[in-house]
């Protein structure tokens, strides 16, 4: 069986699994990293959102064979370490506003939020309503208003 090596939350990992298995299942079922959640498996709900080299993506839609040894995968578990703290400012903003209800979609929401802020900053702008309107992540509990507030606050707290 082919071996695949990549960086996961700062550590080099190697897995033996057929190349077409999507990364979400490599993370959850092979490596036991359970922060990224299954919500649809077809790249719609965004519950599994993680980062690859700092960019948001859906591991449910990426075969493990497409991940290379230099690729850095960050899941919600590894997000705080990217800023060298116990919590990323976005997670703290989430706590301050008590955003989560059931919490199932929230790891994906936070990973999307961090990438959205980074992308908007790279474009030389601050987060606006249009940016928030573009976020696809489904929250069936309907925590959307607090998510919007938390993203703005998290952006303010992110350097």
């Amino acid at each position: 069986m082919p071996k695949h090596t990549f960086k996961l939350n700062g550590e080099q990992v190697t897995v033996e699994v057929p190349g077409e298995v999507r990364l979400l299942w490599v993370l959850r079922d092979v490596l036991g990293v359970r922060g990224p959640k299954y919500g649809c498996g077809i790249g719609v709900c965004q519950a599994c959102t993680c980062h690859i080299n700092g960019k948001a993506f859906n591991p449910c839609s990426v075969p493990i064979s497409e991940i290379g040894p230099d690729d850095e995968i960050t899941t919600i578990e590894g997000l705080p370490a990217t800023v060298g703290k116990d919590l990323h400012p976005m997670q703290q903003a989430w706590l301050d506003r008590d955003v989560a209800q059931c919490g199932y979609c929230q790891p994906g929401q936070i990973m999307t939020a961090v990438a959205t802020v980074r992308k908007v900053r790279e474009e030389g702008r601050e987060i606006g309503d249009e940016d928030l309107d573009k976020i696809r992540n489904v929250c069936r509990c309907g925590t959307y208003q607090r998510i919007r507030e938390a993203i703005r606050a998290g952006a303010d707290a992110t350097e």
């Binding site: 298995v21 990224p36 993506f57």
Partner: protein, 725 residues
């Protein structure tokens, strides 16, 4: 003209609370040597925040910091009978006093133990922060007294509860006790549990609802696929077990199965509507010299799928079984799983896991039963999960229904209000039925079915409209149905409030002033007054933008929504630069007022109102199922348009009324009906046309290409990196 309803005297909250009463005190608050206090909650946490609220009740009664209280979910406890059912937004109403009593028993036992050790009267002891102190300078923590305080025998003891005037925790905003776990990815749902040997398991389902697998043509071939360990027919399809869910998806899709027909193969939206209409009684002829308002409304099926799909872990052995799942009626799950497996009920252990949403779904144990069947068939533990497409198509849904209304008025009075509501049968076979028939013994209810009883116990017109008739009929079709958040109320109240607006127009009255005039209770008028002021009722808005207002009285609480909707063509036709993002009219502003009686946690209550508001918007505008030849067409979140960020109202304000001194009411479902109704009323005013089909976009051309019926689930894409941002 007064029109008292049954719910004035006795409602669904009373029925649920009374059913739980006989065993309500069979609960224990445990004090641990480390100074923490534990409680295994006999209700399901699915996002509604009851673990936090219950921790607050215990912390309050024991004068402890909230961080010292540990809440877990109790396993199925058969001895609790009707007192382990989470539904009807009833948890806090039912357990507010029993939990406080249990905490007070622990507190008094601690004080008594300290008093005995120090030879001082209990009355001289002070208590703060989990420390008992005496003016002599003696101090002891709960933790240090825990062992000594344990009573070797059970004794009768009725402690005094802390008076409300002394509350320092109840009524103040607290963040959820599981918030840190949620934002760090550490919160564990059923699929996150590591049960030895429990490997991923999925099910291939029939092309129509309730179709069954007759045979597998290629089981041997599928068993040779990478990672696949087991394949077997179970009652709901063909189960496969493998090393990863990804490999299970491949195997499910590769299976070649012969199917027997389902139970509703010939049914589509059109056939269903004909049957619903045929089963609805005609309205009574209007009396001479009265003005009649007639209206008919159709409500599509709506999925109660939560974000976590149906899932369960099961380890079934010859002589015992162990199940882990999010279950709101775990005792019934345990009984039915034991029966199916041919085991004694005592040989089945059912662990209740926190759920990733419910909205009615976890009243049923569909995944737990499947997992038990699959584990027995394989002789191995399984971690069974539904695909999202199955969750939409084969999961439970709020059934399609039809409402026929006639209201008559004359001389400034509403004389009659008749509403005949007909629904495809709602499955209450999860224990609600036994509970209702076991507790509601009023003779006048004797001949009503469970559904009619629940309808009568929950449906309540907030307006004094003369002779008010509200009746439910059912069309007995075997769909997978169940309650969805707020059960009958969103549809029933939406239809009512639209007709209320028509009545107001006929009588030349302002819609809000009209509601105020006919409001049955002072509580409603107060809610309306705050709505009018904070929501700026009647403010000037451009053509195509309008306000709507609606009320709800349920779960011992009163609530009202004032909504503004933008239905201008440029808004309706707006594009969102998001793949398959469906727009339509946008709710731009919501003012929501809630009078919960006593509020335990304002921050949690506000969260529940926000969630209900987004549900109400979805149910009114975009979120329904199209039934086509025995199967919903919707199979993904890009087909079933639950509210997404591009449809979220930019301005929302939730106002909590001051405590009225009443007991706490229910919150989990309260906001859905008034929001849905207010959105519909606002839309009618904005467009000049009363909507009669819900969701409002249901008859638009389909905005999606339906996923194939076979195989039952789609393959995962491979282009994820192209979409990275």
């Amino acid at each position: 003209m007064p029109s008292p309803g049954l719910t004035d005297a006795y409602d669904l909250s009373d029925a649920l609370t009374h059913a739980a009463l006989p065993t309500s005190n069979l609960i224990t608050v445990a004090v641990n040597p480390d100074g923490t206090v534990s409680f295994a909650l006999h209700r399901a946490e699915v996002g509604q925040g009851i673990t936090t609220a219950v921790a607050m009740l215990i912390a309050e009664e024991m004068s402890l910091p909230l961080e010292k209280v540990r809440i877990t979910l109790a396993d199925a406890r058969s001895e609790l009978v009707f007192n382990q059912l989470t539904g009807g937004s009833n948890t806090i109403h039912a357990i507010y006093t029993p939990v406080r009593l249990a905490a007070a028993v622990a507190r008094e036992r601690m004080k008594l133990t300290a008093a005995q050790q120090w030879h001082v009267p209990v009355a001289e002891l002070d208590l703060a922060g989990g420390v008992i102190a005496h003016r002599s300078g003696k101090r002891a923590t709960y933790g240090s007294l825990a062992k000594t305080a344990a009573s070797p025998t059970t004794r009768e003891f009725t402690p005094q509860l802390k008076p409300a005037a002394e509350f320092t925790i109840i009524g103040r905003p607290h963040n959820r006790i599981d918030a840190l776990a949620a934002v760090t990815g550490r919160k564990q749902f059923a699929m996150d549990l590591d049960v030895p040997g429990a490997k991923p398991t999925m099910v291939r389902r029939a092309p129509t609802i309730n179709g069954t697998a007759r045979s597998i043509r290629n089981a041997d071939q599928v068993l040779t696929m990478p990672g696949i360990t087991d394949v077997a027919i179970i009652s709901t399809g063909v189960a496969v077990r493998g090393e990863t869910f990804g490999q299970c998806i491949d195997a499910v899709r590769a299976l070649d199965v012969t199917w027997s027909p389902g139970t509703v193969d010939g049914e589509s939206d059109e056939t269903l509507l004909r049957k619903l209409k045929a089963a609805t009684p005609p309205v009574k002829p209007a009396l001479p010299l009265t003005t009649a308002v007639d209206a008919e409304f159709t409500f599509a099926f709506a999925s109660n799928t939560p974000l976590e799909t149906n899932c369960a872990v099961a380890d079934v052995r010859k002589d015992r079984a162990e199940i882990w799942s999010s279950l709101k009626v775990p005792i019934i799950a345990k009984q039915q799983i034991a029966q199916r497996l041919g085991l004694l009920e005592t040989a089945v252990t059912v662990h209740v896991v926190e759920g990733g949403g419910s909205f009615g779904r976890h009243l049923f144990h569909d995944a737990a039963m499947e997992a038990a069947e699959a584990s027995r068939a394989f002789g191995k533990p399984v971690r069974l999960m539904w695909h999202r497409t199955d969750d939409f198509r084969h999961g439970r849904a709020h059934p399609m229904c039809f409402s026929r209304i006639r209201a008559t008025c004359a001389a400034g009075e509403v004389l009659t209000f008749e509403q005949y509501h007909t629904s495809v049968k709602t499955d209450f076979g999860h224990g609600f039925g036994e509970l209702i028939t076991g507790t509601v013994t009023e003779p006048e209810l004797g001949n009503y079915s469970v559904a009619q009883t629940i309808f009568l116990l929950s449906q309540h017109s907030p307006y004094a409209f003369g002779v008010t008739t509200q009746l439910l009929n059912e069309v007995p079709l075997e769909f997978h149905t169940g309650s969805m958040r707020n059960v009958y109320s969103p549809n029933v109240r939406c239809a009512q409030e639209l007709v209320v607006d028509q009545l107001a127009a006929k009588m030349g009255k302002d819609p809000l002033a009209f509601r105020r005039q006919f409001a049955r209770e002072e509580r409603y008028r107060k809610v309306l007054d705050v709505l009018a002021e904070k929501g700026r009722w009647g403010r000037s808005l451009p053509a195509g933008v309008a306000q709507g207002v609606a009320l709800a009285h349920e779960y011992k609480a009163v609530a009202g929504a004032l909504v503004e909707i933008d239905a201008r063509p440029e808004t309706v036709g707006r594009e969102v630069p998001v793949h398959e993002g469906v727009t339509g009219p946008r709710v731009t502003r919501v003012t929501f007022v809630v009078d919960p009686g006593l509020c335990i946690n304002p921050r949690g209550l506000e969260a529940q109102m926000l969630g209900g508001i987004n549900d109400g918007i979805a149910t009114a505008l975009t979120f329904g199922l199209h039934i086509d030849r025995g199967l919903p067409l919707e199979g993904s979140w890009d087909n079933g348009f639950y509210t997404r960020q591009w449809n979220v109202p930019p301005e929302v304000e939730v106002i909590i009324m001051p405590d009225s001194g009443a007991d706490p009411g229910g919150a989990g479902e309260l906001a859905v009906a008034p929001t849905m109704a207010a959105v519909a009323c606002a839309y009618a005013r904005a467009t000049g046309t009363m909507p009669t089909t819900f969701p409002i976009n249901h008859h638009d051309p389909l905005r999606f290409e339906p996923l194939p019926r076979e195989p039952s689930i789609p393959q995962s894409p491979t282009d994820g990196l192209d979409k990275a941002f």
